[in-house]
Every structure is written in C-alpha cells, then in structure tokens.
C-alpha cells in the first residue's frame, strides 16, 4: 500500500525554531530512528548517518531561505517509517526556493555551492519540493531493502 493514508510503524513530529542550533537534535532523532527499524538487512550505520545528513541539510535549507513576509520562524519535521520505506517531510513558511533552478555543484571544480541538495539527492531515493500558500514542503523518501 503506497497511498498517503498507509499506516506507519513509527511516526515522529518535531517542531523547532528556525535556528541552526537544533540541527543536531533533529538529525540525531532521525539517526536513532534508523537504529530501531525492524528487519533491515542493509548497512544500518550508513542509513542512520544518511538520514541525519538529509534532515540536517533540509532544515539548513529551510533556515537559509526563511526570510520574507509570512515566515513564522518555525520548521516542522515529520519522520515516518513504513514497512519498506522511510519518509521525512520538512515544512516551513519561508520564501522557499525553486528546486529545479538551483545549480548542480561542479564536482570537478568544487566551490562548495549546491552541495547540500546534491547530497540529499544522492542519499535519498526520491526528493519532492512543493511551494504552496500554506508553506513549503520538502519530502524525501528512502526505500528500506
């Protein structure tokens, strides 16, 4: 079952101020969640690190693009564990960004720019970003095989 109403095994919702001091806290929650996943045969340490990283990068991006009218200075992070998939959703009300227009990093002549989304796209299986009047939503999914 892949619909939006499917039942998750673990469901964690965190609301934080849009401040970088909370990156560690929420990233660690994601990493701990990975250590608790039942019946995962892959590299659990790498999975935990990667989820920590994806959450850290996603919140950092939300903070980076937080300014502007309507920003309510909070970020909502939802972590869901399903039978065969992990899902992390990061919601904010900042000005947002255009996911497709952000430049890819030039790995042959690296400057550091664009590395955050590059990492997210590399470690997660699916990345979707929506801007809506109600706020911006970055949804990241990772299959559990």
């Amino acid at each position: 079952m892949n619909g939006p109403n499917r039942q998750s095994e673990v469901s964690i919702d965190v609301v934080i101020p849009n401040q970088t001091r909370y990156l560690d806290l929420v990233g660690e929650i994601g990493e701990r969640v990975c250590s608790e996943i039942k019946d995962y045969s892959g590299d659990r340490v790498a999975l935990g690190y990667n989820l920590n990283l994806a959450i850290t990068e996603a919140i950092s991006n939300a903070i980076k693009y937080a300014s502007g009218p309507g920003s309510d200075k909070i970020i909502k992070v939802s972590i869901r564990v399903f039978e065969h998939e992990l899902s992390v959703t990061v919601r904010d009300k900042g000005q947002g960004f255009d996911l497709e227009s952000l430049p890819l990093p030039d790995l042959d002549n690296p400057t550091g720019a664009g590395l955050g989304l590059f990492l997210i796209r590399n470690i997660m299986d699916q990345v979707d970003y929506r801007r809506a009047p109600s706020g911006n939503v970055l949804e990241m999914r990772k299959g559990l095989r």
Binding site: T20, A46, E57, P105, T111, G116, L119
Partner: protein, 111 residues
C-alpha cells in the same frame, strides 16, 4: 567551536573537538582557519578524529580553508577522518582535492 591548536614539527595542528561540523558551528571553524592563515601559518593540519558527522557547510568551510591556504602559498591537509565522514568526501569527490592522512603522526612524520 571547540578546538585545540598545537605546533608539531613545522605544522599547525587544529584539532576539532566536536562530534559534528554543521551549519551551526562551521562559520566559527571558517574564522579559526582564516585566522591561522592570516597569522602566517603555511602548513595547517585539521585533525577530525573526534568528528563523526560533517554536512555540506562543513565540507564547504574546509574547501574554503584549502583554497585560502593555497592562495597564500600554504597548504591545508586533513587527518583522522572517521569512515562515514570520509565517505562524504568520496561522494562529493573532495577526496581528490584534499590530502587526507590517517592520523596526525602520518602528516608530521612522527610515526
């Protein structure tokens, strides 16, 4: 950003005593590296033995330090990368930019 600075042989060794380098503390690390370079230190080792997590901002700060050192005819190298941290350098191909040593002793020739 909790660090220690030590002179070993001809190297300025900056030990990062943090488990994470992320967008929260990487600006402070950037300042510390820049200060070292501007103080005339030409051979800088950033020891990451205690660091178990680095994000894109941390990678960017180290890259910036590497470039700044090079522009002053100096060199910035890395030591003590934990496996998951090293994998970040490989994923972003930055392992081809930096000289990366297993430990400080390997850099300074004290082993």
């Amino acid at each position: 950003m909790n660090t220690d600075l030590e002179e070993i042989v001809n190297f300025s060794v900056l030990r990062v005593n943090e488990k994470r380098i992320d967008a929260h503390n990487s600006p402070a690390l950037k300042d510390q590296i820049l200060e070292l370079i501007e103080s005339g230190n030409k051979r800088i080792v950033v020891d990451m033995s205690a660091v178990r997590f680095v994000d894109s901002s941390g990678l960017g700060v180290l890259l910036s330090g590497y470039r700044n050192a090079a522009s002053c005819q100096g060199e910035l190298v890395l030591s003590g990368l934990q496996p998951q941290v090293k994998s970040m350098f490989e994923l972003t191909r930055l392992h081809r930019v930096f000289k990366i040593y297993p430990s400080i002793d390997e850099v300074t020739g004290q082993h």
